[in-house]
């Protein structure tokens, strides 16, 4: 049982682990097990990170990446919910669209990246298109699945209580499918960020990815900068995912899974 008295472990352990990993990094690189031309030391990387932050160069890069992410996410979510709900309520439409969705989902966005770069150039629209392409299909599936997995009793109850139309959509259908929606959003968010950065790395659009690329092209002297930006990418990812977890916790507080998590945090399982 992990009661109050030991709950400090919940934050202390991760902090210690991160510290140990950073120290191990320093030890391995500074100790000469990996040559500095291949992998910079932790301290050099941190110094580079500090420099990028203090000169303010890091912020436009993060901004450019986040803009692509945000626009892509908004388009994905809006289109996904509308199209997904429409498909879910119509069996024929859904079965017709399923193979198409499957095929598009199977095309790695990265594979069409060169084509999209040729057509749209290394621009924000290119990035947004790729983000949408990567995030949309899985999210759409998630929406359809969520709406369709609605408990028939939930719908019957609504009918029996005389709840109809927009009220039914907003108060019954959306909350009922929301576990799938929120999970879908979280996954889509991670995918969108990854695609943003990949598009920047491969296609050279402005953002964290391009800074990684430029540092990579500059050669060994810029390796600490390169890894600093890689770390920025990871931290951004953790922050966004964490944000969606918080959102999930907030919005889904009523849901069984959240109750289970609260419960297991209380009683301490395994």
């Amino acid at each position: 049982m992990l009661d109050r008295s030991r709950s400090w472990l919940n934050w202390a352990l991760p902090v210690v682990t991160v510290g140990v990993v950073l120290l191990a990094w320093q030890f391995v690189t500074a100790g000469g097990m990996v040559s500095a031309t291949q992998f910079p030391t932790m301290t050099d990387t941190m110094a580079a990170l500090g420099r990028e932050i203090s000169t303010g160069r890091v912020w436009p890069a993060i901004g450019a990446t986040l803009i692509g992410w945000l626009i892509g996410m908004v388009i994905t979510i809006v289109l996904g919910v509308i199209i997904g709900t429409a498909l879910a309520f119509n069996d024929f439409a859904q079965r017709s669209a399923a193979p198409v969705i499957e095929i598009f989902k199977a095309i790695p966005a990265i594979a069409i990246l060169p084509l999209v770069i040729l057509i749209a150039g290394s621009t924000l629209p290119m990035k947004v298109f790729l983000v949408c392409f990567a995030a949309f299909w899985p999210f759409l599936i998630q929406v359809i699945y969520g709406v369709r997995s609605m408990d028939p009793i939930v719908l019957d109850t609504a009918r029996a209580l005389g709840v109809r139309g927009a009220r039914r959509f907003l108060q019954i259908s959306v909350p009922s499918a929301s576990p799938y929606l929120v999970t879908g959003m979280r996954i889509a968010s991670a995918q969108a960020l990854i695609l943003c950065i990949v598009a920047e790395i491969v296609g050279g659009a402005a953002g964290i990815g391009r800074n990684i690329l430029l540092a990579e092209n500059t050669g060994v002297v810029a390796y600490p900068t390169m890894y600093a930006y890689i770390m920025v990418a990871g931290i951004l990812g953790v922050a966004l995912t964490g944000g969606f977890f918080l959102l999930e916790k907030r919005v889904m507080h009523w849901h069984e899974s959240q109750r289970n998590i609260r419960e297991s945090n209380k009683v301490g399982a395994a």
Binding site: D151, I153, V154, D156, T157, R159, A160, L161, G162, V163, R164, R167, Q171, I172, P175, S176, S178, W254, H255, E256, R259
Partner: protein
């Protein structure tokens, strides 16, 4: 078997008529499954009718047809003189599975308020009605809580409060007291009897508990095994004043009990 179907607007007005109802699931496919073969009975205004029958007999199916949630394969359901096509406004429904019919994303109060706002009741009146309904099932203090913060019996009562909140004229309940402990069950049974007496509503209740059926009803419809027909309609003349301990121990109760058991369990009888 009591024959149905003549609509007479007299003292004993017939509210609901089920006539030759048949329901086949997956009709027309090779998995066709006849749940109900031919069921006919009628319910008078203000009457309390229980439906009993073995598991899988088609009780839930029958209730779904009566409520307009499902459409029969043959036969007709007439509600207040008109054939049933959709779920009528004046209908209250309590599902067998209360755990799934309360919305976990709404508080208990909001759950009860939902049908009221769907009927465009003004906010102030609605709040008063919600409080009153929850009070009547002895749950005045849980309005702000969520359904999943309550024990099973309490959830069941919230579902009942929700069905009662908009004062339906006909209340359909599907095994509403299953898996609730004896005391809660007795309390709920008495609550329903009381509400019905006060508001003069008509109740159709499905149960697998024969004692419960006798204790509650004016008439009991006994269904056969699946595909079901009406085996018998038993009249229960226990009067209006019933108490759990005495009524259930009365000679009349026990003889009705023996009769019903012999109907339900042919081999034992």
């Amino acid at each position: 078997m009591s024959s149905a179907a003549v609509f007479t607007p007299t003292a004993t007005e017939t509210v609901l008529t089920v006539d030759g109802l048949r329901k086949i699931y997956n009709e027309g496919t090779d998995q066709a499954n006849m749940a109900i073969d031919a069921v006919s009975f009628h319910v008078d205004k203000g009457e309390f009718v229980c439906i009993v029958g073995p598991s899988g007999a088609g009780k839930t199916t029958l209730l779904r047809c009566i409520s307009g949630l499902a459409s029969p394969s043959a036969g007709a359901v007439t509600f207040e003189g008109r054939p049933l096509t959709n779920v009528p406004e004046q209908l209250g429904l309590v599902f067998q599975d209360y755990g799934r019919s309360l919305y976990p994303w709404l508080t208990n109060g909001d759950n009860v308020a939902l049908p009221l706002s769907a009927r465009r009741m003004p906010r102030a009146e609605r709040a008063a009605r919600v409080a009153e309904s929850l009070q009547s099932v002895g749950l005045g203090h849980v309005e702000r809580k969520y359904p999943w913060e309550l024990s099973g019996g309490m959830q069941q009562r919230v579902a009942i409060a929700r069905a009662l909140s908009y004062r339906p004229e006909l209340l359909l309940m599907d095994e509403p007291f299953a898996s609730v402990d004896a005391q809660t069950r007795f309390d709920l049974e008495d609550l329903i009897l009381e509400v019905r007496r006060e508001l003069g509503i008509t109740v159709v209740l499905v149960t697998h508990d024969i004692d419960e059926a006798i204790y509650l009803s004016d008439r009991i419809v006994v269904l056969s095994k699946n595909p079901s027909v009406v085996r018998e309609v038993v009249d229960v003349d226990l009067g209006d004043e019933r108490t759990q301990v005495e009524t259930r121990a009365s000679e009349q109760f026990l003889s009705l009990r023996r009769h019903l058991l012999s109907l339900v369990m042919p081999k034992d009888a």
